[in-house]
Amino acid sequence: MTIMTIVLVLMVLAALWASMTTLLLRATIGLALTSAMLAVVMFSLGATLAAILELSVCAGLISVVFVSVISLTQTKTFKDILQHRKGRLARFWPLPVVMLGAGIALSFVHSPVQIALPLPGGDGDVRTVLWNLRQLDLFGQILILLAGVFGVMVFFKRESKDDN
């Protein structure tokens, strides 16, 4: 439980850093660290396949996408960003206080919870569940991926002169 607590605290701290830091590149690194910590938690709880996907896709691919977008859109100099720091701090300083308060308040709540579960059976290996029981999810994933590809193609389409 102790190592798990350390990893969970690091995950929350990385997420906090990602939302509070002034530079967007640092925020991206914080997000990647959050994903990496989440992958460690998943691995500790026995979700190895999801952990691998989280680490490779969320910590890797999404970070690359973010860095690319930052490099294409960043126009401010480091000096300008530092000048806007005060305004940002005014909006973000209550966040750690709120999080700390919520954490302390929730740690005192220990009421028993009744949760409805689906009927037993049908839960075996993750590959069996994914390929045999959740086939519709896979079709949905393929459709969403295609929608994403076409969406990006539309966004990156160059305007022709006739369109204007």
């Binding site: 995950m11 929350v12 997420a15 906090l16 939302s19 967007l24 925020a27 991206t28 997000l31 959050t34 989440l38 938690v41 998943m42 709880l45 026995g46 979700a47 396949l49 999801a50 989280e54 896709v57 969320c58 691919l61 973010f66 977008v69 294409l72 859109t73 126009t75 940002r88 909006r91 973000f92 966040l95 709120v98 999080m99 919520a102 954490g103 929730l106 740690s107 028993p112 919870v113 009744q114 949760i115 579960l117 049908g122 839960d123 075996g124 290996d125 993750v126 069996t128 569940v129 994914l130 029981l133 959740r134 994933q141 969403i144 991926l145 929608a147 994403g148 990006v152 966004f155 990156f156």
Partner: protein
């Protein structure tokens, strides 16, 4: 079928709520489109985390993993499509400030 969730539920629930607060605050307190996207990502991380915890506590890890894989695929598509929208917005307005979206058509 109902079961009484063990004490471990609250232990994980605290971190889930903290991540949710962080993500929501990041989305609401900023005017930068990219930072909003980062807030959305943190929110999705909290959901992914809680799905895995739910699978772990109910003994249905295979189903939870299948769900998480679907969530991760959708997450990637959302981020890539949103990044395209952000780039398009930047080309039009030369800024990432969401307040400038008021001047757009539509």
């Amino acid at each position: 079928m109902t079961i009484e969730i063990p004490q471990a539920f609250w232990y994980y629930f605290i971190f889930f709520v903290l991540l949710m607060i962080d993500g929501l605050w990041c989305m609401l307190a900023t005017f930068n489109l990219l930072r909003m996207l980062i807030g959305l990502e943190i929110l999705m991380k909290s959901v992914t985390f809680f799905l895995i915890v739910a699978g772990y506590l109910s003994g249905r890890m295979a189903l939870a993993q299948a769900m998480v894989i679907t969530v991760i695929v959708i997450e990637v598509v959302i981020v890539v499509a949103a990044a395209g929208i952000v780039l398009g917005f930047f080309r039009k307005t030369d800024t990432l400030n969401v307040r400038n979206a008021r001047s757009l058509k539509g």
